[in-house]
Amino acid sequence: MSVIKSESRRQTFYMYLFISPWLVGFLIFALYPILSSLYYSFTDYDIIHPPRFIGLANYTEMFHNELFWRSVKVTLRYTFISVPVQLLLGLGFALLLHQTIPWRGFFRTAMYFPSMVSGVAMSLLWYWIFNPQIGLFNYMLSWFGIHGPAWLMNPDTALYALIIMSLWTAGSGMILFLAGLQGVPASLIEAANLDGAGRFRIFLNITLPMISPVLLFQLIMGLIDSFQVFTQAFVMTQGGPNYSTWFYVYNLYTSAFKEYRAGYSSALAWVLLIVVMLFTAVIMRLSRRYVHYEGGSSR
C-alpha cells in the first residue's frame, strides 16, 4: 500500500519537475492573455475605449449573424476534406519513402520543399498556377480534355483551390510519419514476414498500430490548424469571391481589426476553443481503443 503511495508520489514529483518549464511559461506568458480574452468576450471593447461589460450579448449575437454561419460552413467543409486527404497523402509519401529506394534523400527533401516556402512567394506562385487563362493547373487539365474553372476567382471553386493548395504541404505530415516509422521495430516485421504475412497485413497489424500515436497527433493538430485557417484567406482571397473563403478566423480577425470589435472577436475565439476542445475530446476518447502506446504503464 505504502509502496504504491510513494510510487505515485514519486511519479507526481518527477512529472512536475519535468513539466515545470512549461508550467512557469504558461503562468508568465499565456495565462494573462488567455484570461484577458475571456474577459473581453463579455464586453463591448473597441480597443480605443476601455471595455464595457455586456454579459452574454456577444455570444447571442453571433447566432443571428449571417457571416458567422457562413464562416462556420466554409471552415467545416475545408476541415472535413483537407484533414483526411492530407493525412492519407502524408502517410502514403512516408510509406513510399520509408523503403530503400534510389535518391531517397532527394525525394524526401523535394516532398518537403513546398512546406519550406512561405508567405508572399507562395501566394504569388499559387495565383499563377490557378490562373484561368495561363495557369498550369488548367493547362494540365486540358490534357484530359477538361476545361478548368476560374478557381480562385469563382465562388464555387475558390475553397477547393485552397484545399488543393493545402495538399502541397503534405510533406510535413510525411516527415512526421517517417519519424514514426523509424520506431517500428524491424524485428517485428521480419518475424511477420517469415510467418508469411503479406505487405498489407503487416501494415494493418503491425505498422499502423505502432505509428498510431503519430496518427492521432496529426489528426488532432490537423483539426486544430484547419479550424484556424487564416493566412490563405487573408493573403490570397480576402475571404472572397462572394464570401466563399470567409473562414472562421478570417471572420474573427476582421471583426477585431476592421470592425474594431475586439469583444465580439474574443467571443468568437472562445466559441472556437470550446468546439475544437469537444472535437478533440471525442477523438481522444475514441482513440483509446485504437492508439497503441508501448509504455503501457505510463498511460
Partner: protein, 462 residues
C-alpha cells in the same frame, strides 16, 4: 567519460532554463507595476537636456513612405529638443499593429490613414486629436504652406480640424500611345474644359482599340474604367448613393440610396462596358493578366485606364509610351475626378502633440515637400508650389498635361468616399463580395442592389 561530460552539460542546461524562468518570474512581477511611468520619464530624459522628447511617426514599411526617415536629421538639427522615430508595418498589418500599439499604451504620435479604413473611421472611433487649438496657438496658416483651402476643409468636421493634408492623388486617365497610334485614334485631351471629351466618345475610341481573340497574347481592351471605389462610382454619372448630411457630420449617412433607379442605372452603364459594348475586360480577365492587385494596363493590354494617379509612378518602367488625359464628362457637371488626399494626423493618445505638430509643419514646408517628391519616387504634394516639381517628374510625359489634369481634378474632384464614410473597410469588403456575381454575369444589378442597400444600412448603424 564522454557520457559524464554530456550529462553534466544537460544538467547545466536544465539548471539554466530553470534559473532563467525563476528570474523572469521575478522580473515580470517586479517591473510591471510602475513601468508605464518609468518608460515615460525615460523618454523625456534622454540626452540629459531635461526637455528633450521623442515622438514617433507611424507609417507603412515601403520605400514611398519610409523616405521620411531621411528628413529627420535636418529636422532634429533645427529642433534639438525633439527626436523623431519612425515606426513601420507592412500594409497588411498596418491597422492591426496600430490598434495593438494604442491598446498597449504605446500609441504613436503622428500617422495617416494608410490602412483599410480612412479618416472617418479613425474620427468616429475617437482616435484623433482635435488640432484646432494647436493650430490657433501656433498661428498655423494653410496659405503659408500653399495648401489649397478646399483641401484643408476635407479633414475639418464642424469647424474642428483633425488632419493636415500632405499628399494628393487624383483619378486621371492614362493611355497607351502605342495602341492609339496602331488604331489611328487621336489622343484624348488633358483639358477638363474640352466639351467634346465625353464618356460616349471614350466608348467609341475604345471600340477601335478592342481586340478579343482566342490567342490570349493578342487580346486587348479599349478602356478599363476603375473610377474610385465601387460604392462611389454612381457619382460619376451624377447619382448620389449617400445622403447629403454624410459630408458634414463625420461620415455617418442618415440615408443611403443604393437601390434607387438612378444608382442602379449608373452601375448598369459601367457593367455595359463589359457585357454590352464589350470594350472593357471582365474582372476575371484583369486578374488573370495582372495578378491579384495588379493593373492590366501595365501589361500593355489596355488602351485607356481610368484610375488613381499612383499608376503614373511606374511609368518609367512601362515598355510602351503613355500619356495622361482628363477623365471624360459622364453626366455630372460638378464631379469628374476623385481626390485621394492623405492627411497627417495626431493621435489622441499622443503624449507630445506640440512637438508632433512641429514635425508636421516641417513636413509641409515647400522645401521639404519638394525634396519628398524625389525621395519618395513621385509622391504628389498638396503644396501647390512644390506641385510644379511633381508635374515634371515623369519621363516622356508632358509636364503641361500632368499639370492640367491635376488642376482639372482639383476643380472637378470629390474626396474619395473611402476617407469620408464611417466603417468603410466593412462597406468595401461587403461591396467587393456582393458585386462579384454581377461582375461575372451570374446575377443582375436589380437582384443585388437591394441586398447591398440593406447591408450598407446595417454596417453604418454599427
Amino acid at each position: 567519460m564522454k557520457n559524464k561530460m554530456k550529462s553534466k552539460r544537460y544538467a547545466l542546461l536544465l539548471a539554466t532554463a530553470l534559473t532563467v524562468s525563476a528570474v523572469l518570474a521575478g522580473c515580470g512581477g517586479g517591473k510591471s507595476a510602475g513601468n508605464v511611468a518609468a518608460g515615460d520619464s525615460g523618454a523625456r530624459n534622454t540626452g540629459g537636456s531635461g526637455e528633450q522628447v521623442t515622438i514617433s511617426h507611424y507609417t507603412i514599411d515601403s520605400e514611398d513612405r519610409t523616405f521620411i526617415e531621411k528628413l529627420i536629421p535636418d529636422f532634429e538639427k533645427a529642433h534639438p529638443n525633439i527626436k523623431v522615430k519612425v515606426e513601420k508595418a507592412p500594409y497588411e498589418q498596418f491597422d492591426s499593429k496600430l490598434q495593438t500599439l494604442i491598446a498597449g499604451g504605446n500609441s504613436p504620435d503622428v500617422t495617416s490613414h494608410y490602412g483599410y479604413g480612412g479618416f472617418a473611421e479613425y474620427y468616429n472611433k475617437d482616435m484623433l486629436l482635435d488640432l484646432t487649438d494647436l493650430i490657433q496657438e501656433d498661428g498655423f496658416k494653410a496659405e503659408d504652406y500653399h495648401i489649397p483651402e478646399n483641401l484643408m476643409k476635407i479633414y475639418t468636421v464642424n469647424g474642428h480640424t483633425y488632419g493636415i493634408p500632405v499628399n494628393m492623388y487624383v483619378t486621371l486617365m492614362l493611355y497607351n500611345k502605342d495602341m492609339f497610334n496602331a488604331a489611328g485614334v487621336s489622343y484624348p485631351p488633358s483639358d477638363y474644359e474640352d466639351k467634346s471629351w465625353t464618356f460616349d466618345r471614350m466608348v467609341e475610341d475604345a471600340k477601335k482599340m478592342t481586340l478579343v481573340s482566342d490567342d490570349i497574347a493578342k487580346t486587348q481592351y479599349g478602356v478599363d474604367f476603375t473610377w474610385a471605389e465601387r460604392d462611389m462610382r454612381p457619382l460619376y454619372f451624377g447619382a448620389e448613393p449617400y445622403s447629403e448630411d454624410t459630408w458634414t457630420n463625420g461620415g455617418v449617412p442618415s440615408e443611403t440610396h443604393f437601390d434607387s433607379p438612378e444608382v442602379i442605372a449608373a452601375y448598369q452603364k459601367l457593367f455595359d462596358l463589359v457585357f454590352k459594348e464589350k470594350v472593357s475586360p471582365t474582372s476575371e480577365w484583369s486578374k488573370s493578366v495582372a495578378g491579384q492587385n495588379g493593373d492590366p494596363f501595365v501589361a500593355g493590354k489596355i488602351g485607356m485606364s481610368i484610375g488613381g494617379s499612383w499608376n503614373l509612378a511606374g511609368a518609367n518602367d512601362f515598355p510602351f509610351k503613355i500619356g495622361v488625359a482628363a477623365v471624360p464628362w459622364g453626366g455630372n457637371d460638378k464631379v469628374r475626378s476623385t481626390l485621394f488626399v492623405d492627411p497627417l494626423l495626431i493621435l489622441k493618445d499622443s503624449k507630445h502633440p506640440k512637438e508632433a505638430f512641429e514635425w508636421i509643419k516641417y513636413l509641409m514646408t515647400t522645401e521639404v515637400q519638394e525634396k519628398s517628391i524625389e525621395l519618395s519616387g513621385g509622391n504628389p504634394p498638396v503644396n501647390t508650389e512644390a506641385a510644379e516639381v511633381y508635374y515634371k517628374h515623369f519621363d516622356g510625359i508632358d509636364p503641361e498635361d500632368v499639370k492640367k489634369v491635376y488642376e482639372g481634378a482639383v476643380k472637378y474632384g470629390y474626396e474619395s468616399y473611402n476617407h469620408l464614410i464611417t466603417n468603410y473597410s466593412q462597406i468595401n469588403d461587403m461591396f467587393i463580395n456582393e458585386l462579384q456575381p454581377v461582375e461575372t454575369g451570374h446575377k443582375t444589378l436589380k437582384e443585388v442592389m437591394p441586398v447591398i442597400q440593406k447591408k450598407v444600412t446595417e454596417i453604418i448603424k454599427r
